[in-house]
């Protein structure tokens, strides 16, 4: 299916066996050991701040500000997690975030896959420039479009709703479209040609063949969209004017202010906020790998 950039030289492989069995196994174990070591060291650096966040959520105020640094709380203050819900309408925040995220993900999947299909597989005259323009929109710093967009949405009357954030989601986020386009382009032409020979039009090809084949890429987009919308606070900050519609990210901001700072509650809120993403990733990881394995075409 593909060619190596260097030609194979059969004669050489026939004459010289690769390596002795035992030395092969030994070098593989060494590689594994080194890999484990490297990964473990890195893991400490990566997980460290997270553990810090969780332990901070369980410390008393005195412990948070003490020095030398107390790594673990003397008595874990689990009640902080309960206080979260009494101090603010946290359950409402969670529901808001859930709704916002789910719709955002659906929108991203729908919009990006359609646009990516057009850009990847269809030929039309403005394709190149249109794609370039779409990518270019990512390059504008968002601060200057914020105010014009806000004014525009306030004229339409969409303030204090999630509409300014969700409706655009259905119209193809450039990054997701780019990813899917790359993926679609890498699916061999033979499949498409075979489908066309079977009489499939564009729509059938798209829904029945292309999308199922792209499950792993779609899953990646879904995960990334989920994380994006789950963590998005700038959009809700600007457009929402009712506290009851806040997502979690805005809610946890409220624990640390100028005169009083409750870092423990803020970190507890942040920990809760990240939990769904963790769970999602754990589950998705398995499908994700399965998906790649099953798509035998690439294999």
């Amino acid at each position: 299916m593909t060619q190596l950039s260097e030609g194979t030289r059969v004669s050489r492989s026939a004459i010289r066996p690769a390596r002795g069995r035992r030395s092969q196994r030994r070098s593989r174990t060494t590689t594994r050991l080194i890999s484990y070591a490297l990964l473990s060291i890195g893991a400490v650096a990566f997980i460290g701040p997270l553990l810090w966040m969780v332990t901070t959520s369980l410390k008393t105020k005195a412990e948070i500000f003490s020095y030398p640094i107390t790594l673990l709380p003397a008595v874990p203050q689990w009640h902080h997690y309960v206080e979260l819900f009494t101090a603010q309408p946290f359950l409402q925040y969670i529901l808001n975030t859930l709704l916002y995220t789910v719709i955002g993900v659906i929108g991203s999947l729908v919009g990006s896959s359609c646009a990516a299909f057009a850009f990847a597989r269809m030929r039309f005259r403005l394709r190149g420039p249109a794609f370039a323009v779409m990518m270019a929109t990512v390059m504008i710093p968002s601060w200057v479009t914020l105010i014009p967009a806000y004014i525009m949405f306030s004229r339409i009357g969409w303030l204090d709703t999630y509409l300014p954030l969700l409706v655009p989601a259905f119209f193809a986020a450039p990054v997701n479209t780019f990813l899917l386009r790359q993926f679609f382009r890498s699916i061999p032409k033979e499949i498409e040609e075979a489908a066309r020979i079977d009489g499939a039009g564009n729509l059938r090809f798209f829904f029945m063949i292309l999308l199922p084949l792209s499950k792993s890429a779609l899953l990646v987009i879904a995960i990334f969209s989920f994380v994006f919308y789950w963590n998005d606070f700038m959009g809700p900050l600007i457009y929402l004017t009712s506290q009851g519609k806040f997502p979690i990210q805005l809610g946890i901001l409220n624990f640390v202010g100028e005169n009083t700072q409750d870092y423990a509650l803020m970190m507890a809120g942040a920990t809760l906020a990240i939990l769904p993403c963790v769970v999602l990733f754990f589950i998705a990881q398995r499908w994700f790998i399965q998906g790649i394995v099953i798509t035998g075409v690439k294999g």
Binding site: L146, A195, D198, S242, Q243, G257, E258, N259, Y263, G296
Partner: protein
Amino acid sequence: MTKSTLTPLGTTLLTRRTLLTAAAAGAVGVSLAACAPGGTSGTGTKTLKLWSDHSTEELAGIKQVVADFEKAQGGSIKVEILNIADGGQYYTKLKTAAVGNNLPDVFYVRTFDTAPFATKTWTRPIDDLIQRDSTEVVPDDFWAAQTAQFTYEDKVYALPYDFSNIGVYINKSMFEAEGIPLPDASWTWDDYYATAAKFVKKEGGKQTRWGTTLLTADWYMLGVFASNGGKVFSDDLTQCVINSSENVATLQAMLDAMEAGAAPLPNATPAGVDPFSGELAAMYIMGSFATTGVRASVDGKFDWDVAPLPNGSTGTRGVSCAGGGWSIAGSAGDVDASWELVKALASPAAQEILIVEPTRSVPGRQSSAEQWAEQAAASNEPPASIQIFVDQMKTDAIDVHYPTFWQDFQTIWGNQIGTLGAGGEPAAILANVQDETNKLIARS
């Protein structure tokens, strides 16, 4: 039609049906999100929007005041509160709404915001209303300095919430352990730095104790500069004149202290983390608003109190104050209803709930401040000398109006002062601050 030999293996087909269901769900969801609950709760009820940037703890008090207000109004006015504790985010949202002409009816402002907001008519002058209701409002009960800060071109733009200043937190136990006498009200900056130097402790090349933390906050430094005879802004508030020999001397003294090890670097401690409660510094320059926080962090580990700021070369203290208050938007629909709300938020009863009870920052009303000091003294908790915050404001508050370009100045100041102790020279720092600020003024 022959069946395609390329039917995908096993797993779920993304059939047309599933896609349509997803689209339908999406549409339902979007329309749900679009449905804005709330709105008027019946004809004749006015809804006011109130925005503030307090933390959850303070918000509880505000909600209480608002609930009392709604009850007092007999249900004819309903208030929707929106709170975003992070100052930066709050202002981003506020300014975006202002530019888009969607300001709430009443919102929290700081004394820094008076001039910029007034020139843009984002806040409404309330002199006429104060005059009309002066028996209820009792404007003389507010701090003169704060009313001055809320005034722009002779018009008042907000009613106060709180007014804070800075003092020196002292670790009494550490002073006693080292046999150093506690400072008295007549101490000078030189005394202060000398005292701090006595606490320096090093263990094997690493410093384990400092004498004091330094505060380099912009508004606080206005007072420090003033106490040594230096000005920051021109009298007509149109230029920055910070680059003067007196100010250079002030910064130099700070730098010397850092180099002697008496103080750690500026900006070395992130907001909220204080080496004071970690027993790493004997003194801590911080505001009246930090007393509850320090109390919780220290938690009885050592004996502590607060002392007034040192005197400067002019023989005076130079206490700068700043605070927050409530403004009515220039575009507010129902000014009368908004004014009722503002009065309620600034009333003695509200001050009681919001600030006196929790003994947080200093109340915006002098009468409430007296109660506040009494309450703090009666509670028998440190700091015992909490009264000095009130006294300093009465006697040593510097007269300052924050100019329209204050926030630009803040950014530039923060940028430049961060180099002090990390290679920045006082003269260069001040020269840069002055030039850059004036440049931005010219550009606006």
